[in-house]
């Protein structure tokens, strides 16, 4: 998370009645992207809170970022890895845990996988 320049936004609509909520596939391309002005811990946490973000799902996260996000009242599920779609599925199922590895499921068509703290 410390070096993440791009965030993907998963809106509550998509969770409740949308594709993600009904167990469908969510691709990276379907999600809005967000680029923050400030990537310092305090500024990042404040901007995310200001945007109404409630939960941050990310890969590696340092102690200082974790503390700042929690202090800003955000829930954090860190150290997660795998394709975005699989992570969202696990989150919607309520099974996503910190440190979880969500492996790529075999499909007919492959999906792009990008690095970073999205």
């Amino acid at each position: 998370l410390d070096c993440a320049s791009r965030f993907l936004l998963l809106e509550p609509d998509a969770l409740d009645g949308g594709q993600a909520g009904q167990g469908g596939q969510v691709n990276e391309a379907d999600l809005d992207e967000l680029y923050l002005d400030c990537r310092a811990p305090h500024g990042m946490a404040e901007q995310l809170r200001h945007l109404g973000v409630a939960v941050v799902i990310c890969g590696g996260v340092s102690e200082v970022y974790e503390q700042r996000l929690k202090a800003a009242g955000l829930d954090l599920i860190g150290w997660v890895s795998g394709p975005v779609g699989e992570i969202i599925k696990a989150y919607c199922r309520g099974t996503l845990q910190p440190g979880q590895r969500c492996p790529q499921r075999r499909r007919r068509r492959g999906r792009a996988h990008t690095p970073g703290g999205s």
Binding site: C3, D37, R39, A40, H42, S62, E63, S81, G82
Partner: protein
């Protein structure tokens, strides 16, 4: 072993102290040696098959991946300094080198990355920084180190001290250090800027007044000497006080007595005096602007602080110190300055000394939105061509400027600077000494 060469390779890789991993062209880990397990805290079993960026979690993974660069250019990258995130959420400083792996036909089949844990070196670096820090004063300059050596002895004595130095060289820090190290450290420390007040006000400020001493003096007011009783008074810019006040100050330094305005009897002053000036007091004495008897009274122990332009080696140390301080104060996470920005800081002549440098770093903190301070974040006057400080003949100034510039280009490395200048190291040393840059 001959039949299973991969086992032999694994043994070889595991015996290396540096972390080594290999990836395929999709950036999936294909091997992960024992040192890599130790440094990252991830087992090889867990790592192999994962994308390297999901395991390695370095600050270059997303935007500036060294392996990807090697794939694109076919070139090796050697000794790149990066931070990885350990499993406990702490940053681990490492040095990374990458190369591509090719098959017999020369096609790229993957890449190899070796990395060295720099934690111990970083600790040593911090230890050195601690060694160069003394009572909030930071310097590795030999003149400053000599001052650090004598200050405890100066502090122990009761002698009056005169601190000389240009504006912004840290005269008050020295005064405070003398107080903190002295037997009076439990007493008050009172600082007065003699240039900040008109003479009449300064007198009442220093010595106080009694009720009725003048119109509006409705009650007694203790002066700074009274407030500093049992402790230390720091008289900054002492060279700017008037001749009349110099007489009164002389009496305090000689007899340890003073008279508040309107008083009929003198008061005793148990106060240690530390005076400071950014002017050449000896020259003022010669010009008749400062009393020679007061000068000699104040000049019992003299400490002369060198200007920052004569202690260029301290600029990186001070920059690191100010970055750490502003990070804490402004809740930011700026990691450092780029090489270009540091070279710019080293080239500047700092007429405002450490205070100007502090202001420049603070300016950069306002402008910088990322992790590294770049040249464009620094104040504009730093990028403007510097006018050489006029000192002696133009030839001398030019030589001094050339020395400063070349040293800055090589971050203070004298051997490299001597090579570029085409002179022997001892010649360079002699020249630096002559120009007060050593």
């Amino acid at each position: 072993l001959v039949k299973r060469p991969e086992l032999q390779w694994k043994k070889i890789l595991d015996s290396i102290a540096d972390g080594v991993f290999t990836v395929d062209t999709q950036m999936r880990l294909t091997s992960f040696n024992r040192a890599a397990e130790r440094i990252t805290g991830v087992s090889a079993e867990e790592a192999i098959g994962q994308y390297c960026f999901e395991v390695f979690r370095a600050n270059i993974c997303e935007s500036n991946c060294a392996l990807r660069q090697s794939f694109e250019t076919g070139r090796e990258i050697v000794g790149l300094r990066v931070d990885v995130l350990g499993r406990d959420g702490h940053h681990i400083p490492i040095s990374v080198s990458t190369a591509v792996l090719r098959d017999e036909s020369g096609n790229i089949t993957g890449g190899v990355e070796t990395f060295r844990d720099l934690s111990t070196e970083e600790e040593l670096r911090k230890e050195i920084a601690r060694r160069y820090t003394w009572q909030d004063i930071i310097s590795k300059n030999h003149k400053m180190q000599a001052i650090f050596d004598i200050l405890p002895h100066v502090a122990e004595s009761e002698s009056t001290v005169l601190v000389e130095g240009e504006s912004g060289t840290g005269k008050e820090l020295v005064a405070r250090a003398i107080h903190n190290l002295s037997p009076r450290s439990q007493g008050p420390y009172v600082a007065v800027n003699c240039a900040a007040l008109p003479d009449t006000l300064l007198e009442s400020e220093l010595f106080g007044y009694l009720k009725g001493a003048f119109t509006d003096a409705k009650k007694d007011k203790p002066g700074r000497f009274a407030l500093a009783e049992g402790g230390t008074i720091f008289l900054d810019e002492v060279g700017s006080i008037s001749a009349a006040l110099q007489v009164k100050l002389l009496r305090v330094t000689q007899e340890r007595q003073y008279e508040p305005l309107g008083a009929v009897r003198p008061l005793k002053a148990d106060v240690r005096i530390v005076a400071a000036t950014n002017r050449d007091l000896a020259a003022l004495v010669e010009e008749g602007l400062f009393r020679d008897d007061l000068y000699y009274r104040l000049n019992v122990v003299r400490i002369k602080l060198p200007p920052l332009r004569e202690r260029g080696e301290d600029v990186p140390l001070l920059v690191t110190h100010f970055i750490r301080r502003f990070n804490a104060k402004q809740h930011k996470e700026i990691a450092g300055v780029s090489d270009e920005a540091l070279a710019m800081l080293m080239r500047h002549s700092w007429p405002g000394n450490v205070r100007e440098l502090e202001n420049a770093v603070e300016h950069a903190f306002v402008m910088c939105r990322g992790e590294t301070i770049l040249p464009e974040h620094l104040p504009q006057e730093l990028s403007a061509p510097q006018e050489a400080v006029p000192r002696g003949s133009p030839l001398v100034s030019a030589e001094q400027e050339a020395l400063r510039r070349v040293l800055a280009e090589h971050s203070g490395n004298r051997a490299a600077a001597a090579r570029q200048l085409g002179v022997h190291r001892s010649t360079l040393w002699r020249k630096l000494k002559r120009h007060g840059l050593a």
